[in-house]
């Protein structure tokens, strides 16, 4: 094992010193993941709309008014639902981006808040990773809430009626005498103000321009404090990708595996053409140790690159790690598979040109058929059938299975078995051909 580790360490050092080779192993896959992720939008909801489940409770007029205002936002695709649990379920399954739960337990009188009654409460349930949508939605909900208030405030006759009701209810309100007097004065002054506004409106009924001006000033008038919006984290439990990056990162991983396999398959033939393979064979180690060292280096490079890609995807692009243990199994199986393919490709030709050319041809076909270029979820059925012959498909499936397909360990068995079998067969064939050539 010591000799294999020595060989692997040497190969990894050589890889690190080869900046161009390193780009194909680590840089290119990331570029692919980001490029495809950006092309396909980076969000499963699409760029055009955000699907929102809406639950309204309490004062019907208030609920409908708020819903009407919220619906004016073209970016929102709102579906009213009847229960909070149902809305939460839809968000958890990823069918909706968020839910908005609007509760107005007041009697609908906008001045009732002065009597200490609760303002409407708004609860937004959204996956914590959807930071951009969360901020955007907060703005839209705030806007709808204030537009609703503005609408109520600019209805002068309605407001005076509400004020009158509120003044008469003051006598029975649960508050001390001083507060009752102060609030009575405030509401009385407000009623006086509104009566003057009403007279001015009557005097200038034809002058719509002055009406606009008054609306503008009312828009700036906000004596009621902020909205009462509560955000609730609703982590999705879904068998759908949360964003396109959850599709493109498994794809990028395939390119990382291909990059590693291509680099190390060339390193074997390079050792032969540059004579160092002979020196390795003259060392007191067996052939399987030499090849094992190569395989170990390739395997280690795959693991490191895949881990870096997954961590970048997770921390920067919100790609879930899903079931980390299954993900680890998927990564190990994929790496092993590509080590075997590397061994096979390395003996296809006797020169670097032959191995490089044939290797990339094989890898490209595998990638095309297996979902390395076109995401598996977007493939037509006939292409999926062809893709079953490509290890790339099984690797994508295993990684996606762990990340977002919700695979159970039993579901993971098939892709992992296929990947390991391909790896083993590749390793055995490669070793046999190499041994034959050494004679």
């Amino acid at each position: 094992m010591g000799a294999m580790i020595t060989l692997a360490a040497k190969d990894l050092l050589l890889l690190l010193r080869d900046k161009f080779g390193l780009f194909w192993v680590a840089g290119f896959p990331l570029v692919m993941a980001l490029m495809f992720g950006s092309i396909f939008g980076g969000g499963s909801g699409g760029a055009g709309s955000m699907k929102i489940a809406f639950i309204g409770e309490g004062n019907e007029q208030s609920v409908q008014g708020f819903l009407a205002e919220l619906s004016k936002a073209e970016v929102l695709d709102i579906l009213p639902v009847f229960s909070l649990d149902s809305a939460r379920e839809q968000v958890m399954k990823g069918r909706y981006t968020a839910y908005v739960h609007y509760v107005d337990s007041s009697d609908g009188n906008i001045y009732s808040m002065f009597a200490g009654e609760a303002r409407p409460t708004i609860q937004v349930g959204i996956d914590p990773s959807r930071k951009a949508e969360r901020g955007y939605l907060q703005g839209l909900v705030n806007q709808a809430y204030f537009m609703r208030l503005q609408q109520q405030m600019t209805d002068v006759s309605g407001s005076r009626k509400a004020l009158s009701e509120q003044l008469s209810s003051l006598d029975t309100a649960d508050m001390n005498t001083q507060d009752r007097r102060l609030l009575g004065d405030l509401l009385g002054s407000l009623d006086h103000f509104l009566s003057q506004v009403q007279r001015a409106d009557s005097a200038a009924t034809a002058d719509t321009a002055s009406g606009d001006s008054s609306a503008t000033s009312a828009q700036d008038f906000s004596p009621f404090g902020g909205t009462n919006i509560e955000f609730v984290d609703v982590a999705r439990k879904t068998n759908h990708p949360r964003s396109m990056f959850e599709i493109t990162f498994p794809q990028g991983i395939q390119w990382a595996l291909i990059g590693c396999a291509a680099a190390f398959s060339l390193s074997i033939v390079t050792e032969r053409t540059r004579g160092t393979y002979l020196r390795l064979r003259l060392a007191p180690i067996r052939r399987w140790q030499i090849l094992g060292g190569k395989g170990l280096a390739c395997f280690a490079a795959c693991l490191v690159t895949l881990s870096i890609l997954m961590l970048l995807g997770h921390f920067i692009f919100g790609v879930r790690l899903g079931d980390p243990w299954l993900l680890l199994v998927a990564i190990l199986a994929s790496s092993f598979c590509f080590v075997g393919i590397m061994m096979f490709v390395s003996v296809i030709g006797r020169t670097e040109q032959a191995v490089g050319g044939a290797g990339w041809a094989i890898f490209l076909i595998m990638a095309m058929a297996g979902g390395g270029m076109v995401p598996v979820v977007m493939m037509p059925s006939w292409m999926l059938a062809i893709g079953s012959f490509s290890p790339v498909k099984w690797s994508v499936l295993a990684i996606e299975g762990a990340i977002w397909r919700g695979f159970a360990p039993a579901d993971m068995l098939q892709p992992v078995f296929i990947l390991c079998a391909v790896g083993l067969v590749g390793f055995i064939i490669g070793t046999m051909i190499l041994a034959r050539r050494d004679r």
């Binding site: 000799a3 020595t6 050092l13 050589l14 004579g275 020196r279 003259l282 180690i285 004679r439």
Partner: protein, 297 residues
């Protein structure tokens, strides 16, 4: 002790090595001298177990399987082609091969220092091999095969493409190793190298050994006579008994088994020379006489 018996190897229709046999004693420097394609490298590769012979056998210190790790630890092979990692430094190359041969810790450090010093690369130990001259790469190639302190050293044409300075340095180092009583097998197509370094030489051509012996024995048996050429100060008188042939009255040539004695006798007889040259037979003449061709044809 190394014993090679009836070793044969063919590649398709070409017989690279044809029933070669020889023995090498411990501490001996044994040369395989022959032109390119004579079968020297193939013989070496079978000797160290890198190639499987079609027939025949090899035994190293009585051990018939040279691929055994314990046998390989006793052998250091410097391949004809450079076998170093150009992207690694000299020190990294040497340490890597040292580790493969089981060295570690202070022993590895000590041996790395020793071979770097031996091949004169201590000052450039941190430079990548890619930045070395051809001669320096050759020396590093040698160092990598000696790091594990082998008792048997095989040098397969170690001076090919090397500048004269590096070549002399390589000769000096091999002569130092001779003193250290290591067994050395040295293949070359430069007869001067074999003549300078080897105790015994096998003349190889077309996969067969034509003869084996010490340099003096080979020359004695196959080298032919020494050739004396000279220009006389004046044409010799009719009475002078001058052996050999005379052209243009003063240009003289003589083939002799005892050139010094012959020249001394003639000068005592009063013959005077403007210039005199004695060409003694060498391994080149041995090869020429054995094959009818020159080594570098």
């Amino acid at each position: 002790m190394i014993s090679v018996r009836e070793l044969k190897k063919t590649f398709g229709n070409i017989t690279a090595v044809d029933r070669i046999s020889f023995e090498i004693a411990k501490g001996e420097v044994f040369g395989l001298l022959g032109p390119n394609g004579a079968g020297k490298t193939t013989t070496i590769m079978m000797l160290v177990g890198a190639l499987r012979p079609d027939s025949g056998s090899v035994a190293i210190d009585g051990q018939p399987d040279p691929t055994r790790p314990d046998v390989r630890r006793r052998i250091g092979t410097t391949p004809q082609a450079l076998a170093i990692y150009e992207e690694l430094t000299a020190e990294e190359n040497i340490r890597f091969f040292g580790k493969l041969f089981g060295l570690s810790g202070s022993r590895l450090k000590e041996r790395t220092e020793f071979v770097l010093d031996l091949v004169g690369l201590t000052d450039r130990r941190k430079s990548k091999a890619a930045e070395y001259s051809g001669g320096m790469k050759r020396r590093l190639n040698m160092a990598c095969s000696m790091v594990h302190d082998p008792s048997i050293l095989l040098f397969d044409e170690p001076t090919v493409g090397v500048d004269p300075q590096s070549r002399n340095l390589i000769f000096d180092k091999i002569e130092e190793l001779k003193v250290d009583s290591r067994t050395i097998i040295y293949t070359t197509h430069y007869m001067e190298e074999a003549q300078r370094l080897c105790n015994r030489v096998a003349i190889v051509d077309h996969g067969r050994i034509l003869d084996i012996g010490t340099v003096d024995d080979l020359i004695g048996h196959h080298g032919g006579k020494s050739v004396i050429t000279g220009i006389l100060v004046e044409p010799p008188s009719r009475e002078t008994n001058l052996p050999g042939t005379l052209t243009d009255q003063t240009q003289w040539r003589l083939e002799s088994d005892h050139p010094i004695e012959d020249v001394a006798r003639l000068t005592n007889d009063g013959l005077k020379f403007t210039s005199l040259k004695i060409d003694r037979p060498d391994l080149e003449s041995v090869f020429l006489n054995l094959t009818g061709r020159r080594l570098r044809d």
